[in-house]
Amino acid sequence: MITYRPYLNKEFAMSLSTTDVEKVARLARLAMTPAEIETARSQLSGIFGLIEEMQAVDTKGIAPMSHAQDVAQRLRDDKVTETNQREAFQAIAPQVEGGLYLVPQVIE
């Protein structure tokens, strides 16, 4: 078992509030009961305790690294390459009708 002591900087040491977690659950489109929010709050606070160690690192002048290889995004020719497979794709959809995906009504 690793014994690991996250750097505890008071300025950054954080504990998430119930409101924070409710907001994140809403943004992430996850329905959660008050009890689940509470469990998530305690577990996420523990994980952020681990993450906070980053805040003590001086990264002035360091360029962010978004990708493992420094290569430019490849572009392809603007032409149709895929065949229409609507039936195959819709065969595994939860609800379809007349070639359309059905969802609850959003506009009255």
Binding site: I2, R29, L30, L50, M54, P64, A68, Q69, Q73, A88
Partner: protein
């Protein structure tokens, strides 16, 4: 036959000493006997596998067989395979029969290989113990009370139990190397961009990489020859000359410079693991290698950086699962937002929801600079550590995992403890380097220990050479669990 290497199996098939149908049936019989307890496979379709075997036999008879033709492989359930249930270990995809093949699956199909089944995994590859799968825990064949590791735990368990000749895995933070170590097999995560991610269900796109898992380095080289290569359907697939990854297997290791990072042998490493790894390094000295002390000073930061970047990418990738076009939809809901929220809450397991929430939080307004941007900057520092280290050595070696396989349920309630078990593997993904794990002995409770070999970018052929030479001199890789 099940102890033969892939090249021996291929030769036996081409010499018609055994047919692919016979070989496939041999594995299917073993799976019928052992899989109910190990749970290494989620989906098995004997008719489909045998149909492929029959086609392979026809190809062998026609004299157009390739190296892997007729050999039965397991495929991690993260790869979409046409007409196969493809669940990614999640309830969210419990009914997803893929309408298309992932690039990796096409490559195996084109080579005439047989798909034996879809191997179990942590849900959406998020886990280090295979305990987050919706389809049940996987057991380690060396001790069925212990985890096989994760997320490619089903693949590792199946290989150790000889329920396939070899199988595929994917590695975002150690998901090939750690289960390989815990199950006493070999596994290789290639350089980022070497194997196409097309049709491989995305977890963290800037880190995900598919690779081969098997019983020895020679087998991995053959598999990588089939798996690697440019694919225009993956925008991060690298355009490179095709190479033969087996070309250097037999080179001697005289003068090989092995870098040993002191951070990998610091506090937290199990003494049984340290002992086995140190013995392996001593063996390499006998084979002519030179040991160089190096430092990867930012190693401990790789965990916080990873647990910002991977969840951030995952929260974005997993937003596609909304119950509209495929996958799980909640049975009852009031409106569209309610349908999204209930489908996702019921379809995703606890660990996946946890990571989506971390990712959503670190990307949310007001926190982006402090978390996501800061993590990306430290990611560069971690990658630079390796660039500096490779000025002084050819490969880097150390333990794959700080401990041998832990008991099922042991770390279940504490996500932080589970995350810490990836300390030696994560930095490799952040840098985009190739890494592998090979068996190098046994620790406490007679559980296997893995030696990690980290290579420089595109140095897979050398790493396979380094592993193969060790496997010629030792026999850890050919040990099998009792009762197998």
């Amino acid at each position: 036959m099940i102890e033969s290497s892939l090249s021996q199996m291929g030769a036996a098939l081409r010499a018609k000493k055994i047919s692919s149908v016979e070989l496939t049936q041999l594995y299917l019989d073993r799976m019928a006997k052992l899989n109910p307890e190990l749970n290494a496979y989620i989906t098995i379709r004997p008719e489909a596998s045998l149909a492929q075997a029959k086609a392979a036999d026809a190809r062998i008879a026609a004299g157009t067989a390739e190296a892997l033709t007729g050999i039965p492989f397991g495929q991690k359930d993260i790869f979409c395979a046409k007409d196969w249930l493809t669940t990614c270990g999640s309830k969210m995809l419990h009914n997803f029969v893929s309408p298309y093949d992932a690039h990796v699956i096409s490559q195996f199909n084109n080579a005439g290989a047989v798909n034996l089944g879809k191997t179990n995994m942590d849900e959406f590859a998020m886990g280090s113990s295979n305990e987050t799968s919706h389809y049940g825990i996987v057991k380690n064949p060396w001790d069925k009370a212990r985890v096989p590791g994760g997320s490619s735990g089903g693949t590792a368990s199946a290989i150790a139990a000889r329920l396939c000749a070899a199988a595929t895995g994917t590695d975002t933070g150690g998901s090939i190397r750690q289960p390989a170590a815990l199950c006493g097999i070999s596994g290789l995560k290639p350089t980022y961009g070497v194997v196409s991610r097309y049709g491989m269900i995305a977890f963290a796109s800037s880190l995900d990489q598919a690779g081969p898992m098997g019983r020895n380095a020679e087998d991995l080289a053959l598999m990588l020859n089939t798996m690697a290569g440019f694919d225009e359907r993956d925008s991060t697939s690298l355009q490179r000359e095709k190479e033969d990854y087996a070309r250097d297997l037999n080179k001697p290791l005289n003068g090989l410079r092995i870098g040993i990072p002191k951070e990998f042998f610091a506090e937290g490493l199990g003494s049984d693991v340290a002992k086995a790894v140190e013995a392996a390094i001593a063996e390499y000295k006998k084979l002519g290698a030179v040991i160089v002390d190096i430092s990867l000073p930012n190693t401990r930061l790789s965990i916080p950086v990873y647990y910002v970047l991977a969840p951030a990418e995952a929260s974005s990738n997993l937003s596609r699962f909304d119950g509209v076009r495929y996958g799980y939809r909640a049975p009852e809901y009031t409106d569209l937002a309610d349908m999204y929220e209930k489908s996702r809450a019921q379809g995703f397991g606890a660990e996946v929801q946890r990571r989506i929430m971390i990712g959503t939080y670190v990307l949310s307004h007001g926190y982006y600079d402090a978390y996501y941007l800061q993590a990306q900057k430290i990611r560069r520092l971690i990658a630079q550590d390796f660039v500096e280290a490779y000025k002084h050595c050819d490969v880097i070696m150390g333990p794959t995992s700080p401990s041998t396989a832990f008991k099922l349920g042991e770390k279940g309630d504490d996500p932080v403890q589970m995350y810490l078990s990836d300390i030696y593997t994560i930095a490799v993904n952040l840098a985009g380097l190739p890494g592998m794990s090979i068996p190098c002995g046994f620790g406490d409770n007679d559980m296997p220990v893995g030696l990690q070999i980290i290579g420089n970018y595109f140095d897979e052929a050398r790493m396979l050479n380094v592993a193969h030479q060790y496997q010629l001199a030792t026999d850890w890789h050919s040990r099998a669990p009792q009762g197998i």
